[in-house]
Amino acid sequence: MNRRTLISALCAFGVTTVSATAASAAPPATRATITVFAAASLTDALQAVGKAYTARTGVPVRFSFASSSLLARQIESGAKADMFVSADQVWMNHAQKAGRIDAGSRRTLLRGRLVLIAPADSRVAVRIAPRFPLAQALGANGRLAVGDPAYVPAGIYAQTALTRLGVWPSVQTRLARADNVRVALSYVARHEAPLGIVYETDARAERGVRIVGIFSEASHPAIDYPAALVRGASPVARGFAAYLQSPAAKATFRRYGFRTFG
């Protein structure tokens, strides 16, 4: 092998290596995926909508479902999400204040309702009204299963509603404070608690519980689910954000017990 061949061989090797590195560093344009950070209470509904979107467009949608507070903190500290759907405005505001949200894309996507539930085989009957006998309905040592009113949005709504109805003082020491609303739901479904307060959507997803009553919208702040693109989201995410407002997606959300706008 003469010297010239050797040099050209080395050059060829170098070029191949560099181009291989460049190719692996570039985003794979053909296999774009959308990453959505969404509140845990949206798990079933959003997965169904995501599947329909992928079937229609071929673009895979990945979800990370967790509490809105955790997701907002992750987005704040730079997590690579394209979209954030929060279970309340507070944590969306938090992420927006941190400068991580594309404010122009923010929409209130869904609205939920708060319900009082009992195990499916329970015969308890109470009517939600001012000063209704909630503590008596719990029996001697039963607890009311709720998301922790200190930080779980469903629990905060429950506390507000019960306070406005004047029954909060009688039950505040009798709560089973769950880490999220789905745990509160399972406490009731498993007969660990005779009554619980969850979203209508949760109650509909669990065969082990029945809805005893629905809290009027006047008794608590609106249960809104805001959605927004995260700054620097991949362009394909806009398509999914638009799809969430489409009649097909709205029909799916309503089937899971959410209310939609427009």
């Binding site: 509490s67 200190a150 779980v152 880490d179 745990v183 498993r190 007969h191």
Partner: protein, 227 residues
Amino acid sequence: MLTATEWEVLALSVSIAGRAVLFALPLALITGWVMARTRFPGRTLLDAVLHSSLFLPPVVVGLVLILLFGNDGPIGEMLARFGIRLIFTANGAALAAGVMAFPLMLRACRQAIEAVDPRIEAVADSLGAGFWDRTFSITLPLAAPGLIAAAVIGFAAALGEFGAVITFAANIPGETQTLALAIYAALQQPGGEAVALRLAGISFGVAIVALLSSEALLAYGRRRSGQ
């Protein structure tokens, strides 16, 4: 220095971790002795089962506890007949924390028993000491340093346990809200970092105190036995 709420959380945490050690340590000692001194078929399988809370996610352990000790669970139903309720109570929190800390205590107990020379036990045996006499006057005193270590590590693990406790006992202030749960709750609120850090500092203080008292206990034991 500490607020009333912080004192309450601290006292409750120490009480729950203490109860966890109180019920789990005797079981760890017995199973540790069995593992160290006996051979039988299925021993490895039993060992794996005893260590299951080490490799299962804590929330799964919490769920299994609900299935066993909840109102619909076989053990829960039995206890309810005696008026004992574990779910959503401080004793339930101690159960969950104790189950999570059990494998660590088991390992320490087993090693402590294994470290006792069986020939000394054999000598006691030859001099006419029965099983219980031999166990209480030879085996346990010789294993004491290891057993104290088991108690301390179990206490520390129970103090920091989170997932199993919040799943089984929920997060009820004054009843089941330990330091670990209070820290978690604080972190869920916007701007709760300062509160969480204070509580973490308190946890650290408790762990230091527990460690120092175990050292003191060991030193006392050494002086008494003249080693």
